[in-house]
Symmetry: C2
């Protein structure tokens, strides 16, 4: 797999996911405003990848500050953090990563600015490296839940492309595959932005893991026909009570899974767990522009001009629909999350 | 509303639904092969509309036969019927309408061929007129189930465009609207062919009935948020036990409705009821080409080249998920259908 995000020649290099699968193109962000725009425009997406990218955006912006005193420098970094935090509201990894960069900054008050700049760069690279390591760990834990010969339904893209690498839900798939289990993935196309069709299918085909594309509307009928053995998704935010915000349509998959007696697993690192949010109904849900629904990837309009549209980008799956949450520390029931990840 | 299908200057004139909503264009079919191709290519679709169109295709083909004896003429008509019956497997109205044309033919053995040709034309027009009348009747029955201020979720297009006019599910909507009820429709876009986005939204906007477009994946979350009061869909075939075949994704809507305690109504005329099919699992489900999933309305590809795809065009909703079936004879529980419509 090509890297989703990396430091390259003094820039934050992003794989431009809005061009996949047609084109594999990279976007070199040379200032933090370009990083913010890339997040807003979904050129990079997926909660963990957004977190890593934002951390790099903070570090990148910090390099360009001309302040020589800590206080002036810190004010500049804080403004950069606010700019990056305003890009998207739902995925908590964004705020988690920015907070971590702010904490790093606060711990370096005694250092010269040139040293702080270096350490912020290091910290963003550490966040990236840790993300991949967490995904590999949660992949191993989750793989134990997948049996040889099973077919896994996934929604959206919680893969290498949604993270710094390896993936969360698809990290579990990769780990099971690496263990020699003959598994198959059914990928919901995931309207409106089609992360399933464009990204999940693409990255699994790159790794030659068997994958079949379906429309979101087919999941129920395929569960009824016995073709699906378990559901496995990522998360944009997990509340303290175990409620899970994830891509719109995840809740429908969870209800359908329960109705068919199928396990519904959520795979996410601790950076996705937000104990400051008590329950799912407090998670802000991003409403995106109607054009994502009324036309597709630059194609012709698919709805009448002026059609009224709803476009919530996420939904909340209550904990009661979640069989277990797969993390880098192990597999937990949703109600165990607060204890496991409490300070 | 422009007519979905009509006799016009010796041709079967179809509103080309594959061009909507961008273009309102008509296709004049001057031979039965063109009618068959139009059905196969979804230029006309919707179970009742397919039935009416096929009947007209039989009548059209019959006009061009040069046979002078009844037996030779009847062989010719039978071949035309077989050609038209082979277009699509799931909607039973197709077979129902063709059978009715065959019965008409059989009853005219004593007549001269020129008279039979005229009577077959008349019969196809009668099927069209009856379809509209049935829709108006079922609309009135169904409207009693819709209360002022309610929001109705519909899937696919069971409207004027799916019938000779007025619609089945949307016939109920129209009747409730004509009674002055302030209702609102949420239209599932209905991937892969987008009949909801392209057709349902278009025809309701034409009639200025409030309609909001959503992706199929949003229905569950909107039910949970209390925004939907009832679900209302059409049908392609209703088995004797009350199981309902309809557009792929209908079953998911039904499961979600049950999980949220919402009524799930199916609106269909008796031509959709197939007592010869005991239960839904005997209904053949059409598998359509992958390109309907991997690209959209002539737009760029939305999935990697060579992606494996499933594309069942229909699913079966078991009777236990169906609150009631709305017909031109009244509203019935699914298990009452066999008695009500038995010979």
């Amino acid at each position: 797999m090509v890297p989703t995000v990396e430091w390259k020649d003094g820039a934050v290099r992003l794989l431009d996911q809005s061009r996949l699968p047609e084109k594999v193109e990279f976007l070199d962000c040379r200032d933090y405003q370009t990083v913010a725009r890339a997040i807003r425009e979904l050129r990079v997406r997926g909660a963990p990848a957004i977190g890593v990218t934002a951390a790099m955006g903070v570090a990148l912006g910090a390099q360009s500050l001309t302040a020589t005193s800590y206080d002036e420098f810190a004010r500049g970094v804080t403004a950069i953090c606010e700019h990056l935090a305003a890009t998207r509201p739902t995925a908590v990894n964004l705020f988690w990563a920015i907070e971590r960069m702010k904490r790093t900054l606060a711990g370096l008050r005694a250092q010269p600015v040139v040293e702080i700049k270096r350490r912020l760069l290091d910290e963003s690279q550490r966040i990236l490296d840790e993300d991949i390591a967490m995904n590999r760990a949660l992949g191993r834990h989750g793989a134990a839940l997948v049996r040889d010969g099973q077919t896994i339904l996934t929604h959206c893209n919680a893969g290498a492309l949604a993270t710094a690498g390896y993936g969360t839900a698809l990290g579990v798939v990769r780990a099971a595959w690496e263990q020699g289990k003959r598994i198959r993935v059914l990928a919901d196309e995931t309207r409106p932005v089609l992360q399933g069709a464009r990204l999940t299918v693409w990255e699994l085909m790159q790794d030659q893991i068997p994958v079949t594309l379906i429309t979101d509307s087919m999941a129920g009928a395929l569960m009824k026909s016995g073709l699906i053995h378990l559901c496995l998704v990522g998360a944009d935010r997990i509340a303290a009570n175990g409620d899970v915000a994830n891509k719109i349509g995840t809740y429908s998959v969870a209800v359908l899974a329960k109705a068919h007696g199928l396990p519904f697993y959520v795979a996410a690192p601790h950076s996705t767990i937000d104990l400051a949010t008590a329950s799912g109904n407090q998670i802000p849900i991003e409403q995106r522009k109607p054009q994502e629904v009324t036309s597709l990837c630059g194609g012709p309009p698919i709805a009448p001009l002026g059609a009224d549209v709803l476009n919530p980008a996420f939904d909340v799956t209550p904990a009661e629909f979640v069989t277990a949450i797969i993390t880098e520390r192990g597999v937990f029931k949703p109600h165990e999350i607060a204890d496991q990840f409490g300070s």
